[in-house]
């Protein structure tokens, strides 16, 4: 596994060896942190991890085969904000090592062959543009074609503004494919990690047959700041954290990272694709 700085978004020491836990302020030795799946051994704070690290944690050893790796963004709106969209993508590519905000492929999890899609928050905040939409849709279509379960791990700030309504429409595109999995009795497991928000939460991430989340992951449609400003109310404690969302009925389980793989494997073993496609009307 590539050694990678677990990015805590608040105070952290710019050290190559140590990282400060943003929750308990403990100084953690990076190698130890990585061995502990990037979870603080003291307070169990779950650091964000990249898509490659996530795949290492979830896929059975040596089973992951990436698909559509070379699909990249166009710039349909010729969008320029503080820098041009094309430059922004290039920078994200360098920062994250990925070609866009999702990595997809086939894998086995606990011995069950699946289509796996893992988002990467390091790529423009895990934002969903045409590439994310296309890759997850293709993964769902492959899942349908070979009657294998779909597992999607989300981490996203929402739709990618720089692709305008084209980004928005990816919500409908992905759900069109995911919906057919449901009709065909093929399991879809959604895993929500810190953070899962906006158009990603308001589409495929919310609609798993099973929805799991990592502890304290930030999960909400509107950002808490937006909500707070718009409404001018003080928010309840734990608002939009995984445990809060669980209480409100939208998550099946909050699962610590150390147990996530075995838990997914359990549900994959229990929810087998229906042997025959009952069809959706053709």
């Amino acid at each position: 596994m590539r050694l990678r700085m677990p990015f805590a978004r608040r105070r952290e020491l710019p050290s190559h060896l140590w990282t400060q836990c943003p929750d308990c302020a403990e100084m953690l030795f990076n190698k130890q942190l990585v061995r502990n799946m990037n979870v603080c051994p003291k307070c169990e704070h779950h650091f964000k991890i990249g898509a490659r690290e996530r795949i290492e944690l979830l896929a059975d050893k040596g089973t992951f085969e990436e698909r559509d790796a070379d699909l990249t963004s166009g710039d349909p709106l010729s969008f320029v904000d503080s820098k041009p969209y094309r430059e922004r993508i290039e920078a994200a590519r360098i920062k994250s090592g990925a070609t866009d905000a999702v990595i997809t492929g086939t894998a086995a999890v606990g011995g069950v062959p699946v289509e796996l899609a893992v988002m990467d928050f390091d790529f423009i905040g895990g934002s969903m543009g045409s590439v994310v939409g296309e890759k997850i849709t293709r993964a769902a279509e492959r899942a349908l074609a070979r009657r294998a379960p779909l597992v999607v791990v989300s981490a996203s700030g929402g739709a990618r503004m720089q692709e305008g309504t084209l980004a928005l429409m990816q919500m409908a595109k992905i759900l069109s494919a995911v919906s057919r999995l449901g009709d065909a009795g093929i399991p879809y497991i959604s895993v929500l990690t810190d953070p899962t928000t906006g158009g990603v939460l308001a589409s495929f991430a919310s609609l798993g047959d099973v929805v799991l989340a990592e502890p304290k992951a930030y999960i909400g449609f509107s950002g808490a700041r937006v909500t707070d400003q718009t409404i001018g109310e003080r928010l309840p404690a734990g608002f939009q954290r995984a445990e809060f969302v669980l209480e409100h009925g939208f998550i099946d389980q909050v699962v610590p990272r150390a147990q996530l793989k075995e838990r997914i494997a359990f549900f994959l073993a229990a929810l087998r694709p229906k042997p025959v496609d009952l069809g959706w009307g053709l």
């Binding site: 070379d70 990249t72 963004s73 166009g74 349909p76 709106l77 010729s78 969008f79 320029v80 904000d81 503080s82 543009g129 045409s130 590439v131 296309e134 849709t137 279509e141 349908l144 074609a145 739709a159 503004m161 692709e163 305008g164 309504t165 084209l166 928005l168 429409m169 990816q170 919500m171 409908a172 595109k173 759900l175 069109s176 494919a177 995911v178 057919r180 009709d183 906006g198 158009g199 939460l201 308001a202 589409s203 495929f204 991430a205 919310s206 609609l207 909400g220 449609f221 509107s222 909500t227 718009t230 409404i231 109310e233 928010l235 939009q240 409100h248 939208f250 959706w280 009307g281 053709l282």
Partner: protein, 326 residues
């Protein structure tokens, strides 16, 4: 600046069509603009469109429903939590035939806007919509949706009751709904909260309506760190009617009276009626399986991606043919 049409050519490549083929299934006529060239000098700026789309006296869903349809009977409630006044729906008749109609509802005054929550639905609004979609499906009535919202309500209670889940479910139900659907963007198409009513076989927009992934003010605040850049953001986001047509987000534009829809509700409604009636007629003749397959493809095509250089992308074979081996 890059040639803006380059993007369209990319879409065209992926979709296996060239822009000159138009939107494929719609034929232009007096009642429908399917080519932005036809707009000529009538094309207004993005910011002008934003202002027109938000105009307080623009006809909103109920005003349109009363003029386009006859015998509208509103149906209330989500059967779960509350009747959300920001979404209206029910059964009405078009040319003597029953349809289910569902729309977001803004107010035409401050009082009414407070009652309607400025057209920003709570989760229960989307769940009412879903209930009415299912009613349409059960009795094979065509569905007409009217989009007009700044966005789904972002308040804490909406979050607690699952705003994201409600929108997601509404979109998902529409993707598989076994009856024809026509959606019309009347005014503001605000993000996911608008798309929750927007998965249709035919998506039309009033000429000066807007449809955007984020409000121009929101985009400006995030991208330029000042809401003052909203006008620039509006332009960049390509949220105006002609942009939507060029990007194939909508299949056609419905003409508005010269000074905007708010100046003549009757004429606006007449134009909408003239635009949607033939579409409903045409869709009613399709078999359900064909309808669903085409709806799938309509959204499946949207997006611009670049496949590896040197490997030109062949026209994509429709998905359902792959699976069924046809």
């Amino acid at each position: 600046m890059r040639d803006p049409l380059a993007a369209l050519r990319e879409i065209a490549t992926l979709g296996g069509r060239s822009p000159s083929e138009g939107n494929g299934h719609l034929v232009a006529g007096d009642e429908l603009i399917t080519d932005t060239a036809a707009l000529g000098s009538a094309r207004i700026s993005a910011w002008e469109a934003v202002k027109l789309a938000r105009e307080l006296h623009r006809p909103h869903s109920i005003e349109i429903i009363e003029r386009v349809f006859t015998r509208f009977q509103e149906m209330h409630g989500d059967r779960l939590f509350r009747d959300d006044p920001a979404i209206v729906g029910g059964i009405a008749e078009l040319a003597g035939r029953p349809v289910v109609v569902v729309g977001q509802q803004k107010g035409a005054s401050t009082e009414e806007n407070i009652q309607r929550n400025f057209g920003m639905p709570h989760p229960e609004g989307y769940r009412k919509a879903i209930r009415l979609y299912r009613l349409a499906e059960r009795f094979q009535l065509p569905l007409v949706t009217l989009i007009d919202t700044p966005g789904a309500f972002p308040g804490p209670e909406a979050e607690e009751r699952g705003q994201a889940e409600a929108i997601a479910k509404s979109i998902e139900v529409m993707t598989g709904l076994r009856t024809p659907i026509v959606a019309v963007v009347l005014g503001e198409g605000g993000s996911g909260g608008a798309l929750a009513l927007g998965v249709a076989d035919v998506v039309l927009s009033l000429q000066n309506a807007i449809y955007s992934v984020i409000s121009p003010e929101g985009a400006a605040a995030i991208l330029w760190r000042t809401a003052g850049e909203a006008e620039r953001a509006a332009r960049s986001l390509r949220l105006a009617g002609p942009d939507l047509l060029e990007l194939r987000i909508v299949d056609g534009l419905i003409p508005e009276p010269p000074a905007g829809a708010h100046t003549d509700h009757d004429r606006t409604a007449a134009n909408i009626k003239a635009a949607i009636a033939p579409q409903l007629e045409r869709l009613a003749r399709k078999a359900t399986a064909e309808l669903l397959a085409e709806r799938y493809e309509r959204f499946r095509r949207i997006g611009v991606v670049v496949e590896p250089a040197g490997e030109p992308v062949a026209p994509r074979r429709p998905w359902w043919k792959k699976v069924l081996g046809r």
